[in-house]
């Protein structure tokens, strides 16, 4: 882990969205800061959520915010290790504008040894007028056996859940 270069959302953004669910959605990297990342979900006809209105469904917006959350955590810790979403809440303020892309900006405001806390907004061009607010908690999933045992012990202590 110590040999791994420090995570950079901009660099990772160049190859992150080539496949899988986020590639299918067509997510794009936009910009990042020390503890935050902004991604873009481009408008696409087959992602609409209502038959009669050209508005993106809320499902892809959850995917956008989930991905931006993960990247904000890696950007904050500097280490690209798997994280598992524990809990993600989305409050929808209003529908996105017709045929508009949606941007998701998420900051990681706190990390502990086993958890990372994030909050962010989704907007359709104006950050001051968000489409949605999100808040989430992620668990660090370590593949190092010793660290993994420690993490399991920690999570068992705090909430007694099966972390598989």
């Amino acid at each position: 882990m110590s040999e791994q270069p420090k995570f950079d959302a901009g660099e990772a953004g160049k190859f992150f969205f080539r496949g899988g669910h986020t590639g299918w959605l067509g997510l794009e990297y936009v910009v990042h800061g020390q503890n935050w990342v902004e991604l873009k979900l481009p408008w696409r006809e087959d992602l609409i959520g209502e038959p009669d209105r050209h508005v993106l469904a809320s499902g892809p917006i959850v995917s956008l915010m989930d991905m931006a959350s993960g990247m904000s955590i890696w950007q904050t810790t500097g280490v690209f290790t798997p994280v598992a979403t524990l809990d993600l809440r989305v409050d929808y303020q209003r529908p996105a504008r017709e045929k508009s892309a949606v941007w998701g900006r998420v900051e990681c405001y706190r990390t502990t040894r086993s958890a990372a806390f994030v909050r962010g907004i989704a907007h359709d061009g104006d950050e001051a007028d968000p489409v949605a607010h999100v808040a989430g908690v992620f668990m660090q999933v370590s593949y190092d056996p010793k660290k993994r045992l420690e993490a399991q012990a920690e999570s068992a202590k705090t909430e007694g859940r099966d972390d598989d």
Binding site: H21, L25, P51, G59, T85, L86, L88
Partner: protein, 132 residues
């Protein structure tokens, strides 16, 4: 699609590969196969795809119930909180909603998603939906 079901899934849901599997007590059980377009961490279901399945099951259940009551309002999301309970594997996933409370202006739903063992859900969600 189940026979006689007037339920139409959204373009997003169809595009993701979500289908109506069957009905249980008049409410639709939705399903999606594992594939590249729902994959997150290699070999695992993406959390966003899981949320999409849960949310779609929530809307499908509410629309079905409302139609049965002769109501057809426009549905607007208020919020969704998703709890991830265990990693989704390379298997077909299912979701079914329970309408906890159906009011005049808003509905409260709880939704569960599972794979081969229904007693071990992979995720659950609480949703509030506005009926305009």
């Amino acid at each position: 699609m189940t026979e006689g079901s007037s339920l139409e899934l959204t373009a997003y849901a169809r595009s993701l590969g979500i289908e109506v599997e069957r009905e249980e007590d008049g409410l639709p059980v939705l399903a999606v196969d594992f594939g590249r377009n729902v994959e997150g961490r290699p070999g695992h279901l993406h959390g966003g795809a899981t949320a999409g399945l849960l949310e779609t099951a929530g809307y499908a259940a509410l629309r079905t119930r409302l139609l049965a009551e002769g109501r057809e309002p426009q549905l607007k999301p208020i919020n969704i909180t998703v709890q991830y309970l265990s990693a989704g594997r390379q298997k077909r996933s299912y979701a079914l909603a329970r309408i906890t409370r159906l009011g005049r202006r808003n509905a409260n739903l709880t939704v569960e998603a599972w794979q081969d063992d229904r007693t071990r859900p992979i995720a659950s969600a609480v949703m509030n939906i506005l009926m305009a």
